[in-house]
């Protein structure tokens, strides 16, 4: 038995509230394998196989699920149980869920990103639920000595159809645990679903309305101290001199130490102040005097950065993808169009600022926090602290927002280094100012788009993007590699429908750390490409939806366009009445959004209607999908009209919400969301609603005013 690599049943039981878990099964999903293997915990333990433990059923029939993904609002805590309960034939009320601690060897890739919880694991989750159900059916059939085919499962029990005999799952688990899981199991048909596809209320919401939900900042450990860190305000600054004479004697202050925080292939230095409460640490930080060495580092500002990007656009790009001969076709086109679009840098600005608890005791490391990538953190800490992976346990709390930022490992590593040095559990709290100024940020991007039209159709299409390449920041990165995200946001159907095309990028050099931000490059690509599409439709003298229909020639897009037309009353709208539309594809979901704007009596623009049509294929919970699209639109509205992170002298300018203005309730009208019903594979839900909003809004403004917006953000009040 290899207890270190296989499921530790005692640890598992400790996580659940169970005292008598009897049947525990999960899937084993080795890297590169096409299919997962499902087995019981006992078999896995005997074989030394690292099982992804997911479901356990106890002797009272209660079901316990260990969720391998974070919950940051996107609804994995609801979608995962809905999938398992459906196939297992239990009521959602009998299902309890908790976070699986980060453990790559146990749970596989746990990163919550790319809108992948459902689309990445649905097959395994459905099969795992179905496997447990089939084992319980077999156990009952054995007990009654009847053919299994005469039995069926319903609401947490097995029923023998001819005799109506009934045994609850709790009464069958011990017997079922002795069985070998069947290799193939029947899955339910979609028409028979009772739980999947239903707008069931989120189970985590009960604790999110009364203060009981534990976010990272709410977690406390016995003897835990609180730390804040004065980090170099300049990207890459080093500590030159520290005067902490006024700090050490301040009430509550326990330690003042120098710390390092790895950010990609660079190190940011800081001074940590550790105290017995957060406020004491924050107060002491104000008395700290640090002189920073910023020599040798570029003191970049936003104007310089965007000048550089525009200069970069003149260089030949690194080609991600080409088809046909763009230059030749463009040269011969009847009508030519060129446009440059600019998008800003953005902070993630999660409502819960970054924070992390680390407890380093000897060679054991325990982390608690709002974390998107527990397995990455485990691997990163093992590397940095030169410890075996199994010595590092990462616990996920609820996340007060994530949006990509909490997948990074800088804040957790820094916390571990502080705990190691002070030899005590410590919670490192980032103030809002730290959270907003330290990055990583969403990279801004400048796009040069060119297209040629023949007979009202796109004959040649080219985009060049100048932006920082996130992948180039890692140690030993190949900086001559192209950005493989320049086509993100566009559908394959569109690209396949154009004979001559070219997508390329020029990686802009900068020391600003950048990172995924909800919908990643689609969040900026979408604005450029779908604004340009609108310009092309107008140049071609076509209705914007007709033009898209003409270039998205697959049934799936036609159906989505039909729905947009129907829900907006597109055909009956008056000319230049302020309607705009955009369609993007992101993480395998297609979303179309239409916006209606009008001018009010005071001369200011107002958004009257927002209509979104989401095609995410096979789906689990329509209400969560609607919520995610609503939220994506509000986040897009902010990045389009109210906020941006500027840089001056190598530092971020906006420090808190007084400068980084978020959309408020009065900025947001009702949002209508419609979901397509089809047999497509599940696509992402948490992010794909974001990219089409900004272009739809700007296209609407053009429709009403004739003013084309090519640079975000813009002030709605000044149009």
């Amino acid at each position: 038995m290899q207890s270190k690599n296989s499921i530790n049943r005692r640890a598992f039981l400790k996580l659940s509230s169970f005292t008598s878990a009897a049947l525990t099964i999960g899937f084993y999903f080795p890297a590169l394998a096409e299919e997962s293997t499902i087995m019981t915990a006992e078999t896995a333990e005997n074989l030394g196989i690292p099982l992804n433990a997911f479901i356990s059923i106890d002797k009272t029939g209660k079901v316990f699920i260990l969720n391998h993904r974070s919950e940051m609002g996107q609804g994995s805590f609801q979608a995962v149980p809905q999938m398992i309960a459906e196939e297992l034939e239990v009521s959602l009320d009998d299902v309890e869920i908790a976070f699986a601690p980060g453990h790559q060897t146990k749970y596989g890739n746990q990163i919550t990103g790319g809108s992948s919880t459902v689309r990445g694991a649905y097959k395994h989750l459905l099969r795992t639920g179905a496997t447990a159900r089939e084992m319980l059916l077999e156990a009952a059939a054995k007990k009654w000595t009847v053919p299994k085919e005469e039995c069926y499962a319903l609401n947490g029990a097995v029923i023998h159809r001819p005799s109506n005999k009934k045994l609850g799952y709790g009464e069958l688990v011990e017997e079922a645990a002795k069985l070998t899981p069947p290799k193939t199991v029947p899955l339910k048909e979609r028409k028979d679903y009772k739980i999947i596809g239903k707008p069931l209320p989120r189970q985590d919401n009960a604790d999110k309305i009364n203060g009981k939900a534990i976010f990272g900042l709410d977690k406390k450990l016995p003897g835990m101290l609180y730390a804040v860190v004065e980090r170099s305000p300049h990207f890459l600054g080093k500590v030159k001199h520290v005067d902490d004479s006024a700090v050490r004697s301040m009430p509550g202050v326990k330690h003042v130490i120098k710390v390092q925080m790895p950010v990609f292939d660079t190190i940011r230095e800081g001074i940590a102040i550790v105290a017995d409460n957060t406020w004491a640490a924050m107060q002491a930080r104000k008395a700290l005097k640090v002189e920073w060495d910023t020599s040798g580092f570029e003191h970049l500002d936003t104007a310089g950065l965007y000048t550089r990007m525009k200069e970069d656009l003149k260089k030949p790009g690194l080609s991600q993808r080409t088809g046909g001969h763009f230059e030749a076709a463009f040269g011969k086109a009847a009508k030519k169009l060129e446009a440059v679009y600019e998008t800003p840098y953005e902070a993630h600005a999660c409502m819960e600022p970054l924070n992390c608890i680390a407890d380093v005791k000897g060679d054991q490391v325990t982390i608690y926090g709002p974390i998107q990538g527990p397995d990455w953190i485990q691997r990163d800490l093992a590397d940095r602290l030169k410890l075996p992976m199994e010595n590092i346990t990462v616990h996920m709390t609820f996340l007060g927002g994530g949006f990509g930022r909490k997948a990074f490992t800088d804040y957790t590593t820094e916390a571990a280094l502080i705990s190691k040095e002070i030899k005590a559990p410590v919670q490192v709290v980032w103030t809002r100012e730290d959270d907003m100024t330290q990055g990583p940020f969403r990279p801004g991007a400048v796009y040069e788009c060119k297209a040629g039209l023949n007979q009202g159709r796109i004959a040649a299409f080219q985009t060049k993007m100048a932006a920082q390449n996130m992948g180039h920041q890692w140690p030993k990165a190949d900086k001559s590699s192209y950005n493989d995200s320049t086509t993100e946001g566009l559908s394959e159907a569109f690209i396949n429908g154009i004979e001559h095309y070219s997508f390329a990028d020029i990686p802009t050099d900068s020391t600003i750390p950048v990172m995924w931000w909800r919908s990643v490059y689609s969040s900026t690509n979408g604005f450029a490409y779908e604004s340009f599409m609108d310009e092309l439709a107008i140049a071609a003298e076509k209705d914007p939806l007709d033009f898209r229909r003409q270039h998205l020639r697959e049934e799936r897009y036609a159906a989505l366009i039909d729905m947009l037309e129907e829900k907006t009353g597109w055909r009956s709208r008056a000319k230049n009445s302020g309607w705009g539309v955009a369609i993007t594809e992101c993480f395998k979901s297609v979303v179309g959004e239409a916006v209606k704007v009008s001018r009010q009596a005071d001369g200011k623009l107002k958004i009257d209607r927002i209509v979104a049509v989401m095609d995410c294929g096979w789906y689990v919970n329509p209400d969560i999908i609607r919520a995610q699209v609503e939220g994506s639109i509000v986040m897009a509205l902010g990045a389009a009209t109210t906020h941006e992170t500027h840089f001056a002298d190598g530092k971020a300018v906006e420090t808190n919400f007084h400068q980084y203005q978020m959309p408020r309730i009065n900025d947001v009208p009702d949002i209508e969301v419609y979901i397509m019903e089809n047999e497509e594979k599940p696509g992402g839900v948490g992010e794909p609603g974001l990219p089409p909003f900004a272009p739809a809004l700007c296209n609407a403004i053009f429709d009403l005013t004739g003013k084309r917006i090519r640079k975000l953000p813009f002030n709605m009040k000044e149009i």
Binding site: P201, N205, N210, D218, C350, V429, M662, R664, I665
Partner: protein
């Protein structure tokens, strides 16, 4: 450091704190009432909203020394069983996503409904403008406040 007797959710709590320590950190770090959240520290986001004598205030910007004998209600004291009309409406409309700002949103909404049982959309916009939600739950918050107003009129109103 000074001694304070604070009336929180109907119970008197004795604390030793720096007079300048904001009520937020007294609640969170000294009394372990973590339902009240830190979001900005400068009364810009509303995550730290509590009631002081029934009015919504930002606890991140209220020094503990200024509280005196005024009655504090935090989210933990709004109800013991999610039965307050605002909480019921929040569940009915499935408002929360990440949930971090929602306790502050709920405290602002409860204070609004107390002084204005029939808020219009405009009243809601004005009262709730100080509460940021990065998940973008605003349309649902507006619906939930109207729903809570309706619930409060149904006799016997739960939680009141």
């Amino acid at each position: 450091m000074a001694s304070y007797k604070l009336s929180i959710n109907g119970t008197t709590h004795a604390v030793e704190a720096d007079p300048k320590m904001p009520l937020l950190w007294v609640l969170r770090d000294l009394l372990n009432l973590t339902g009240t959240k830190y979001g900005c520290g400068m009364a810009q986001c509303g995550a730290c909203t509590v009631h002081l004598n029934g009015n919504a205030i930002r606890s991140c910007s209220m020094p503990v020394s200024a509280v005196g004998n005024q009655k504090i209600t935090t989210i933990e004291g709004l109800s013991t069983d999610n039965s307050h009309a605002v909480q019921q409406a929040w569940l009915a409309e499935q408002v929360p996503q990440c949930g971090y700002c929602q306790t502050g949103q709920i405290m602002s909404a409860a204070a609004l409904l107390k002084r204005n049982p029939n808020p219009s959309d405009r009243d809601i916009d004005i009262a709730m403008q100080g509460n940021i939600c990065r998940c973008g739950t605003y349309p649902r918050i507006r619906k939930a406040i109207h729903k809570a107003a309706a619930l409060m009129k149904q006799p016997p109103a739960k939680g009141f």
